[in-house]
């Protein structure tokens, strides 16, 4: 099988993670999300707990400084460790599915990359969050706003392109219209067509 890397960006509550999981199962590929940092830490023989607070964290411009491309920002440095790890895997010919982590930008030079962004209607996302996290609608909306803000700030502080901007992804799809399973079918059809 030729190399396949699927990058999944997602809005909170859109079912992006579930879609990534189903794509990984469908193509029998490893899925990287929070576990990526654990693998990075293990490969460097360092404590994962030291890196974890900076997973998908934005770079604080006021409390960091850049010198000749090097940064004092812990968030930047942890992000770079993950980016380098992903690039290494891609250049080694490995196939995988990766959720977030600026992967659509970091791996854009890899011909094996298929980059996706999963979005959703506000009400549908809220309903999903209410069910998954056992929250009322107000709390669900707050949680969605908080997570999306966090993801956006993280992405935009590490990448030149904007988070969720369809020009940065091969395929942007609203999962609320067809539901998770049908969305997965459409994506797999696209990926299969793309790989022919």
């Amino acid at each position: 099988m030729s190399q396949l890397i699927i990058s999944v960006g997602r809005e909170f509550g859109s079912g992006g993670h579930e879609i990534a999981d189903k794509l990984a199962k469908h193509y029998e590929l490893p899925l990287y999300d929070h576990n990526l940092l654990r693998e990075v830490a293990a490969s460097m023989n360092v404590n994962h707990d030291e890196l974890q607070p900076y997973d998908e964290a934005k770079k604080n411009r006021f409390f960091s400084r850049t010198v000749r491309g090097m940064s004092s920002s812990a968030a930047h440095n942890v992000a770079q460790l993950q980016f380098d790890y992903l690039k290494k895997k891609a250049s080694n010919g490995e196939s995988f599915v990766v959720v977030g982590r600026c992967s659509e930008t970091v791996l854009k030079d890899s011909p094996a990359l298929v980059s996706l962004f999963i979005l959703g209607d506000k009400d549908a996302k809220a309903e999903r969050v209410m069910k998954l996290y056992n929250k009322d609608k107000k709390d669900a909306l707050e949680l969605m706003e908080e997570h999306d803000k966090y993801r956006k700030e993280y992405h935009n502080s590490h990448c030149p392109g904007k988070w969720g901007d369809s020009r940065n992804y091969e395929l942007s799809i609203n999962s609320s219209k067809l539901g998770v399973d049908e969305t997965v079918k459409i994506i797999t059809a696209y990926i299969d067509a793309r790989r022919k």
């Binding site: 990075v40 460097m44 030291e50 890196l51 411009r61 090097m70 004092s72 440095n77 460790l81």
Partner: protein, 451 residues
């Protein structure tokens, strides 16, 4: 009034933009420099003379610029081309040394000399960092020293963080010891016509005394963490030999000779009358000639962005100077100190240190040059003492926080590449007390010696 307001607004905007890193800092200073030329000098002052004075290009074509500049005692204003040309020259020499493997060889040689024992490596690397930073920029020193420290830590099984931080501190301290060690010192030296020996005999003595305390402090603070490492003897055989670092034996010898020549020329420049601009130009030409085919790649590696950053910065500071803002600031310092030299010196040291802990010390030092010059003229305080206080404050203060100096950033980023994340808390816990100790030593020594 309008030119003054414009100059201050541009200056403050420049600082904020530098801190936020929205665009690269050389673009910020150059952009602000253009605004200074157009708005402050053009629209506000309508003075062509101020523009010519600030651009200062004519100074390059005078004999004083290249020869016997050390005898000048007047503070120069506008773009300090002597600083820029000297730094460019040293960058080329350092790139030449790095290209042939000099720094890596030196680090590996010293590690081997102390038989790869962690504590002796820790102590000798701190001293090596101090000595190298006296002559070359601290970024290069830490770039190589920290990389070798990480490599040794993986083989000797110790956590490299405290060792890297101690090296960073000593690089900043070593930089304060000489005229060419840290950009603020070059700016101070070339602005007031001080020699290499002037710095060594004043800030150098302070730095050397402080180094003794710093070595003790870091040993006490880090020894437990470092003695935890315990490598097996057979693992040491996998260490690369120091000689393997040398990429070109002939080039290595030539690089060593050029470096020694640069050191000798700098030490003797007060006697020979050669300016640091001359030394920088001479050393860079010799490096390029002897590098052969590698000359072009050395030129490409020069950090032009930093040089452009300096150009823009000097113009913006020139705007403050020409409009008299810095005189007002000097008068303010004079007023709050009530004309008391001790209070004035303490303010210069500690305010410079606190400011340098959070903002780039280069623009701060460049701004303070006309301020201390005015203070000396109006308050009758010895300019040399104010200069040493400014050098000590700006050079040392930068060590206190992760963003205070370039070497700190390089050390943190190098450690991070091996998975060792240095947070603000971890950094400041070790480095801030050391900074305060050295600042107290500096204050006491300046008070005892000069006042």
């Amino acid at each position: 009034m309008l030119p003054q307001i414009l100059a201050v607004v541009i200056f403050v905007a420049m600082f904020i933009l530098i801190v936020t890193e929205i665009v690269e800092r050389h673009i910020i200073t150059l952009g602000c420099a253009v605004l200074t030329l157009l708005l402050v000098f053009g629209l506000g002052m309508q003075s062509m003379d101020a523009i010519v004075q600030t651009l200062n290009v004519h100074s390059i074509f005078t004999l004083d610029f290249w020869y016997a500049a050390g005898e000048t005692s007047e503070a120069s204003s506008g773009i300090n081309w002597e600083t820029i040309i000297f730094i460019a020259g040293m960058m080329i020499m350092v790139e030449g040394m790095a290209h042939v493997g000099f720094f890596r060889w030196l680090c590996m040689r010293i590690a081997k000399m102390v038989k790869y024992k962690v504590i002796p490596i820790f102590m000798t690397f701190m001293i090596l960092s101090f000595i190298l930073a006296m002559f070359i920029d601290s970024i290069t020193v830490i770039l190589f020293l920290a990389a070798v420290t990480v490599e040794l830590s993986q083989l000797l099984k110790f956590n490299p963080v405290s060792m890297i931080l101690a090296e960073v501190f000593c690089a900043n301290l070593g930089g304060s010891a000489t005229m060419c060690g840290d950009p603020p010192n070059i700016i101070i030296g070339t602005s007031f016509g001080y020699s290499f020996a002037d710095f060594v005999l004043n800030t150098g003595v302070i730095a050397l005394v402080a180094l003794i305390f710093v070595l003790i402090y870091f040993y006490v603070a880090c020894r437990k963490e470092l003695t935890a490492g315990n490598a097996k003897l057979e693992e040491l055989s996998s260490l690369p030999s120091p000689e393997s670092a040398i990429t070109n034996k002939g080039g290595f010898i030539v690089s060593c000779i050029i470096f020694l020549a640069a050191v000798v020329l700098l030490i003797t420049h007060a006697q020979t009358g050669l300016s640091v601009a001359f030394i920088g130009t001479f050393i860079s030409i010799i490096t390029l000639i002897t590098s052969g085919k590698a000359a072009l790649s050395l030129l490409k590696k020069v950090d032009y962005k930093t040089l452009l950053f300096f150009v823009g910065l000097f113009v913006v500071v020139g705007g403050l100077e020409e409009t008299g803002i810095l005189e007002i600031l000097a008068d303010f310092i004079g007023d709050i100190s009530g004309g008391n030299a001790k209070i004035m010196i303490a303010i210069i040291i500690w305010v410079s240190a606190i400011a340098s802990a959070f903002i780039d010390n280069i623009p701060f030092a460049a701004t303070m040059i006309p301020v201390i010059s005015n203070l000396a003229a109006t308050q009758g305080v010895n300019l040399e003492v104010l200069s040493w206080a400014l050098a000590a404050g700006t050079d040392i203060g930068g060590s206190a926080t992760p963003i205070g100096a370039s070497a700190n950033v390089v050390g943190i980023a190098t450690a991070a590449k091996s998975g060792h994340i240095i947070r603000w808390g971890k950094y400041c816990k070790l480095m801030a007390p050391a900074t305060i100790i050295v600042l107290i030593i500096s204050t006491v020594m300046i008070f005892a010696r000069y006042l």
